[in-house]
């Protein structure tokens, strides 16, 4: 493939400046991305949008309010990172490590989070509209008041997650594990829950209208009336224990 050359020929001084910056990174004693960025006068909160940060190791990073739109963070280690208010829309976080991260009000619209570890992460009020979270680990995560409309959560592990007040209509939850999840006042209208496990889940004031519950496992659910149980059984749900 023919590569595209830069049109403006840079002078030697400009090239030397670039080489000095590269040398600064190569010879730096630290491997911390925040420190490295500081050494070359980059601001991680605004300069990394669209960058290739795949597989970087950045646990505990403070990226509150950062612009990370379309950033490649595949397999990045962001364990316990703080990203509250950050914009990660259309970012690729497939298989990244975000367990115990603080992700309050993060914009994850159309982000790729396939197989991402978000165990015990705090996603309060985050926007995950149309995000792909299939196979993600969201166990014990706080997803309260999140926007999960049309999100793909197939095969996701949501065991013990707090989904109270979440807007999930038309999300894909096929084969998802919602064992002991808190779905209090969540909106699951039109959600595909087929083959999902909802045993022990709190379903008080949960909207399940038009939800697909074929082979969905229920049992020991708080907030389900006899009438609702009969209706779910009619829609081919399975009750155990």
């Amino acid at each position: 493939m023919e590569s595209k050359k830069i049109a403006n020929t840079p002078n030697e001084k400009s090239l030397q400046r670039l080489l000095n910056l590269i040398q600064t990174i190569v010879e730096s004693d630290t491997d911390d991305l925040s420190e490295l960025a500081k050494k070359v006068r980059l601001n991680p909160l605004k300069d990394f949008a669209g960058a290739n940060l795949s597989s970087v190791v950045w646990p505990g990073a403070d990226l509150s309010g950062a612009n990370l739109v379309k950033t490649n963070l595949i397999a990045a280690d962001l364990t316990e990172a703080v990203l509250s208010g950050a914009d990660l829309s259309s970012a690729n976080l497939n298989t990244a490590q975000l367990s115990h991260a603080i992700l309050i009000s993060v914009n994850f619209t159309s982000a790729k989070l396939l197989g991402t570890s978000l165990k015990s992460a705090n996603l309060l009020g985050a926007n995950l509209n149309t995000a792909d979270l299939s196979d993600a680990d969201l166990s014990d995560a706080n997803l309260s008041n999140t926007d999960l409309k049309r999100a793909n959560l197939s095969r996701a592990n949501l065991r013990g997650a707090n989904l109270s007040g979440a807007q999930m209509h038309h999300a894909n939850l096929r084969h998802a594990n919602l064992d002991k999840a808190n779905l209090y006042a969540a909106n699951l209208y039109g959600v595909d829950l087929s083959y999902a496990d909802l045993r022990g889940a709190n379903l008080k004031d949960t909207e399940l209208g038009a939800a697909i519950v074929v082979n969905t496992l229920f049992g020991n659910n708080q907030g389900l009336s006899e009438g609702m149980m009969a209706d779910l059984k009619r829609r081919k749900a399975i009750f155990k224990g």
Partner: protein, 85 residues
């Protein structure tokens, strides 16, 4: 590109980092060689290759990308944000 410096002189750290290699390919060949001389040396059996961490490689790629953007007409530089979408 079959005959540019980045593909002929491939330091070990670039061999597994196609995105950085791609970033270098837009530069004039003599510039590619100068950058390669800083970030790594050609790998031979006798020579122990320089091993740069993934964090440093990511940072170098970002620096080069920004620098290229500075020296490129805006219509091309604006494509950077679409690269990893």
């Amino acid at each position: 590109m079959l005959h540019n410096a980045a593909s002929v002189i491939r330091p070990t750290f670039l061999e597994t980092d196609d995105s950085l290699l791609k970033t270098l390919e837009v530069l004039p060949e003599d510039f590619q060689q100068k950058i390669i001389s800083v970030v790594g040396s050609p790998h031979t059996d006798e020579q122990k290759p320089r091993v740069l961490s993934r964090n440093k490689r990511a940072m170098i790629e970002k620096i080069i990308t920004l620098w290229v953007k500075e020296h490129t007409p805006k219509s091309y530089g604006e494509q950077e944000n679409r690269e990893y979408a």
